[in-house]
């Protein structure tokens, strides 16, 4: 069992020009330790972060897209695994934090905290899938997760983080979405 902040600090050391998509609790911690134009924050329709990421991966095939998802979020958009498995973008990495709770919604348990997300990803034709439960293993697998041909999937077992309320307004400002467009060359600087 890992601490999410520890995981994110390790991830920060390896992140360069990838687009990182996050939402809710993960997003509020990621922005604290690595605020950058190449971040995208999915909000308002829980679970759609991976779908935003799929679209970006298809549109920007030369750029790695890393989605930081939650187990509750993935369950709200579980079909996304099948869609990703079929579209099979080579530049797509899906990391799911499993703490067994809807942390952003008060810490209630997900319907079945023992759900095997790695098995679900494999069943959806995402063959490069793993489960990681300690930080050393995460650090060892990071180069693979960030560079190997996708789609890749990793379920990270973490402990529950602090419960809200969190202030999401700052990360969802339209200026941030504009900054990402500039950073990827969709809009002029």
């Amino acid at each position: 069992m890992m601490n999410r902040l520890d995981v994110l600090r390790i991830l920060k050391k390896h992140i360069t020009d990838q687009i990182v998509i996050s939402s809710y609790s993960t997003a509020s911690e990621w922005i604290e330790i690595n605020d950058r134009p190449l971040n995208y924050f999915s909000h308002g329709a829980m679970g759609l972060g991976s779908s935003h990421g799929l679209g970006m991966a298809l549109a920007l095939p030369e750029r790695r897209v890393v989605v930081l998802d939650g187990d509750g979020s993935l369950l709200m958009n579980l079909p996304t695994l099948v869609s990703i498995g079929r579209a099979a973008p080579k530049n797509f990495t899906h990391i799911v934090f499993r703490n067994g709770t809807y942390e952003a919604n008060g810490g209630h348990p997900i319907p079945n905290p023992n759900t095997d997300f790695e098995a679900m990803a494999r069943a959806a034709a995402i063959s490069k899938a793993c489960t990681i439960s300690n930080t050393q293993d995460f650090e060892n697998k990071l180069q693979w997760l960030l560079n190997d041909e996708g789609p890749l999937f990793a379920c990270l077992d973490i402990e529950q983080g602090p419960l809200g309320p969190r202030d999401y307004k700052e990360m969802y400002r339209p200026e941030r979405r504009k900054a990402l467009r500039v950073a990827v060359g969709a809009d002029p600087a």
């Binding site: 329709a45 972060g49 991976s50 935003h52 298809l58 869609s83 979405r177």
Partner: protein
């Protein structure tokens, strides 16, 4: 002997597809819909100029469509009216509040011929236009070939001004 169908009373799927492509659309995101299956989705699947992304549920389309805009790629979301209703929160959040462009082509399966959607006797159909109006989403009724000319400008406006737009496919499109 059947009465001949007047030229103005037909809707050709290939003409719709041509209008969509001329509007710069490169991707079609879709859950199959019986209403547009033969006339649109099968021809789209066979069209080498269009990338068809098959998804499981309609709300996925809103996220994918938004993501594609970061590569300046335009997409068409093809779904049935039931899928539109299913995806309501995603449409509200991504397209209406975040103001990502989204071009939604909505199959009005079961709409009575010659009847405006609002006047349909079918509950699921008659609520679609009022919902679009409440959400301030502009829409066009596409019933015959004469309506197809409105598709391109509406997509162009949606992508130029970053807002959702919808096309209600009233008559079942022909596969030609």
């Amino acid at each position: 002997m059947n009465a001949p169908v007047a030229a103005q009373d037909v809707l050709h799927g290939l003409s719709i597809i041509d209008a969509v492509k001329k509007a710069g659309v490169e991707y079609v995101l879709s859950v199959p819909d019986l209403h547009t299956s033969q006339g649109l989705l099968y021809p789209i699947a066979a069209d080498k100029q269009l990338n068809l992304v098959r998804v499981c549920k309609e709300d996925e389309c809103l996220g994918i469509s938004a993501g594609l805009t970061y590569g300046n790629k335009r997409s068409l979301i093809l779904m049935q009216y039931t899928g539109f209703l299913y995806a309501m929160n995603a449409i509200r959040a991504v397209a209406c509040e975040y103001r990502f462009p989204a071009a939604m082509m909505i199959g009005m399966l079961g709409l009575e011929e010659g009847v405006a959607p609002k006047d349909s006797k079918k509950f699921g159909l008659k609520i679609i236009a009022p919902i679009l109006e409440t959400m301030e989403i502009p829409y066009e009724l596409i019933d015959t070939d004469a309506d197809i000319a409105r598709i391109g400008p509406a997509i162009e406006h949606a992508y130029t001004h970053s807002h959702p737009t919808a096309f209600l496919i009233a008559r079942r499109p022909l596969a030609s």
